[in-house]
Symmetry: C2
């Protein structure tokens, strides 16, 4: 792709490296590790890669001469800003080990390994993609590496290319698969290392050792930029309530970070809704109360942030959906033969009283959508529900009722937005550009150290880059057993928003003020060339999480 | 509002001024002017302000001592980036004339003048808003200043505050009203000047003397940023067609500018659709052909840009809507009594054959929407139609048919976006920050020169700021007679996209290549601190328009 003026200027940016990685390193092994839960099961499933020590690196004053190493890299799952910098860091890292090292990129995700679809990533290609967003250097894909046949097929091309290590850049599922792959290759003595890198804009792949997944910083800054613009518009026109849905189905980190950055009137945190066992109507009532409260001051405008996954966190909705999936699967033919009105009656008659009541309380369009559009497994496609419109419609109805009762005397007019694809491929912020480059460079060090089943980690991220601490942790350390498609599987535990964590507590301490007053912040677009307080700040989530430590 | 790190750093930015405005100026009068059309009618309606000369400024080496001047300022209509800089330029301009000059802001738009709702804009307030987006310094509104009673009411507060001139910052309608106000105050000898400033992100307020309206530059840069992000995502995942609707009902300048910046696969220009007398199905077929052509190369992804006003430019749709408005107004009661199915039958039976055919060809949801949701005048609310979904649905149907005929062998999966509010209140780009400041400062010079019914103009905008040429043109010069609500009215002629203009011709020469190949450009977010080729470029539209000159 032809470069824009910004990209041309940005191409020259040299990501900063932690001081430890600026010269040769040697490995320092910590204590043996355990999985976060279900230790016996995980140990049983990963006999060859369980219990390995955490690793840190330190300066090596007498390094042995390096040998050329061939490495394969895979981008897995949804795009996240900085993926290209992981690859360029990895490239520079293995070239540092030996100038004859080679990097192969498997094309369009994990499927490229299975299908032997690859390109060699040479210096001119790498240079073309430094500091750019997107995963288009080799493409990404969602093929799951789970089966022995896939591993064996992959091994053929690995052997053919003389590849010593595979680096998988992905989220929790992809890294779970990386661990399984590492275990398998170790078990059969294939002599192939597997290293993971923590990617996801959702921010839900984190724990004590992984302070953040890459891409979260940039994506939330893009969303906060446009939210800030809309807020300023909202506060100028003073006549709309904007309902803004934000990507991220499994956790509300994105919504929380954007709320900390922009200070909207309302931000819903799914994890809190679940913990407090709120109903959809409770959520609606809370928003309506804020609208009514602001109307008392003549402020018939505001901003509501909504995490994409909200519906699935509402206990009553989760129960309804589960029973619906089950009931409709049992009665698929009979149901399909009915017309719309009869279908509604059928559902109401065949659900338990409790779930039928919830179903009846939903706007008709949404209720109907819950009975249609099923995925290949026969499940409701919750992501098709336009939660932002659902909420504003219900809030409107609630306010109409409150008006009748004399409890609301304002106006309510809503606009809707959904932001997701807008942020996943932005050019990485300085933070993500540096972090990703370090993760990739560090992965080369892990390869050189000969380990497998490890995730590349860089810690101490709220400090200046030179102080960052590179290392690695066994992927098995992050695992527990969870039910997936009715089977217990070893998976990396997802990090949800902690209601006792510093970012949420900060938000919770401020939100009543933000609801009533108009405290909008305008973070503006990501800047690459300005003063450090503008260009180099990590996410608020990271800063608050580290403040307590 | 509390400032973000970016805003704090940006507050220090001193907008550049044209060299002419850097010292005292004197007025240079050009030839008398004429309106663009309907000269006799316009002259008859504006006997006191018609035919005035164009004005330019040049350096005044022996300026007379200035006297304090009180000025009122009004923000009118939709937000556009840079409004605060017009006001700060105006403030600095009148303070330059005399330090005791005072600036009053009428609150929430033209209604503030009528209702005597104002604040004095003092230095601390002005400083708080320099280089920020939004209109929140005094708010904006859409009250139309049209009636004698409004003008008289306004005059009371003008006299009370000793105001010598009113500056109206607005689009074509607001400036039309500014001209009427100027004429009225002149006619009654009120001794109040009225000066307009050309604002609108839509870019449709321009002509030989007004090279661009302010806000267009910043807003299109924000839209191009997010389009660029989505394109990069699209080219990484390679599985979606993104249908992106862009704000701007009356003209397609925004879509065209964004296309020039980002190079999407398809961009529809409403003015071309109208000129070629295309039907909605023609537009759909063209998109479907591009989808099919890309699928031949295995590229089942792409980007389609759609101007918000498209529907109203399609001649067949315009005819249908006109007849629908008329027919439903005549049969309102009878129609309302029918159920949905019967309403559809009723419409089909009562429309002319030609329009009934168009109605029948529309997706049912859209057809139904055309018969519902009418505005207070009984007209269809075209803006409620989700054109991006309408098009993708029709493209999907067309492709299904082409697949049956063996003319399409790919996949088609669509996602939808609408960008508008995201760009109207961004912090102004360097271009808009400078342009707006100059427009405001220049307005002060026009006030000092004693003229009325003029619009502040700054020209030569594709050159460095020092070379920009300040001046003014009589607003009547831009007027013609148009039918509004069944009456002929004097209005400023809207500037549509010229199909023989350099920006469109450039686009037209490239679009076949962009359709088939993947030539996406990534402009990235607006930068305020970097190299000049990144930070200081005006819009592509302006650059191409000036290239030929």
């Amino acid at each position: 792709m032809k470069k824009s003026a910004l990209q041309a200027a940005r191409a020259a940016y040299q990501p900063k490296l932690p001081i430890v990685l600026q010269s040769a390193v040697k490995i320092v092994e910590g204590e043996p590790t355990h999985s976060v839960a279900d230790q016996d099961e995980i140990k049983h499933l990963f006999p060859n890669t369980y219990g390995l020590p955490q690793i840190t690196f330190e300066k090596n004053t007498a390094p042995a001469a390096g040998k050329p190493v061939n490495v394969g890299v895979i981008l897995s799952g949804g795009q996240a800003p900085g993926g290209h910098n992981v690859i360029s860091g990895l490239f520079d890292g293995i070239k540092k080990i030996h100038r004859d090292s080679r990097l192969f990129g498997f094309v369009m995700g994990p499927g490229g390994l299975v299908d032997h679809n690859y390109i060699e990533l040479t210096a001119p290609i790498i240079d073309e993609y430094r500091n750019t967003g997107g995963f288009d250097i080799i493409g990404s894909g969602r093929t799951k590496l789970e089966k022995k046949e896939q591993f064996d097929k992959g091994l053929e091309i690995i052997k053919e290319l003389g590849i010593k290590a595979i680096v998988i850049i992905g989220g929790d599922d992809s890294n779970t698969n990386a661990a399984v792959l590492a275990e398998y290759y170790k078990e059969i003595g294939a002599d192939v290392q597997v290293i993971g890198c923590p990617k996801t804009i959702d921010g839900d792949l984190k724990n004590e050792c992984i302070e953040t997944s890459f891409g979260f910083d940039t994506a939330t800054k893009v969303y906060s930029e446009v939210i800030g613009n809309i807020q300023r518009d909202c506060n100028s026109a003073k006549k709309y309530w904007h309902f803004i849905k934000l990507m991220g189905r499994s956790a509300s980190h994105i919504a929380l970070e954007c709320a900390l950055q922009t200070q909207p009137n309302v931000c819903i945190i799914s994890e809190e809704v679940e913990a407090k066992n709120l109903s959809l109507q409770d959520v609606v009532n809370n928003i309506a109360d804020t609208v009514a409260r602001r109307a008392q001051d003549g402020n018939n405008f505001g901003i509501v942030l909504i995490p994409e996954g909200l519906i699935e966190f509402i206990p009553a909705m989760k129960n309804l959906i589960a029973e619906l999936n089950d009931m409709l699967a049992r009665n698929a033919k009979q149901f399909a033969a009915l017309d719309a009105a009869a279908q509604r009656e059928f559902v109401l008659k065949n659900l338990s009283k409790e779930n039928a009541d919830v179903f009846a309380s939903l706007p008709e369009g949404v209720a109907r959508q819950l009975t249609l559009d099923r995925d290949p497994h026969g499940n409701v496609q919750v992501s098709l529900i336009e939660t932002e419109k659902l909420l504003s419609e219900m809030v409107g109805k609630r306010l109409a009722k409150m008006k009748e009762e004399g409890r609301f005397n304002g106006k309510f007019s809503a606009l809707h937005h959904f932001f997701g694809y807008e942020g996943r491929c932005a050019d990485p912020s300085n933070f993500d550009a540096d972090y990703c480059y370090a993760l990739g460079y560090n992965a080369a060090c892990l390869i050189n150290a000969g380990v497998t089943g490890y995730m590349s980690t860089v810690r101490n991220l709220s400090k200046p880059v030179v102080q960052w601490q590179p290392g690695g942790i066994p992927i098995t350390m992050m695992m527990n057993m969870e039910r997936r498609n009715d089977q217990l599987k070893p998976v990396i535990q997802k990090a949800l928003v902690r209601l006792d964590g510093a970012p949420f507590l900060k938000f919770a301490s401020k939100r009543d003020q933000w609801a009533v007053e108009t405290c909008y912040m305008y973070p503006g677009p990501i800047q690459y060339f300005g003063p450090t307080e503008v260009c180099d700040q990590p996410s608020m989530t990271l800063r608050y999480e580290h403040q307590g430590k």
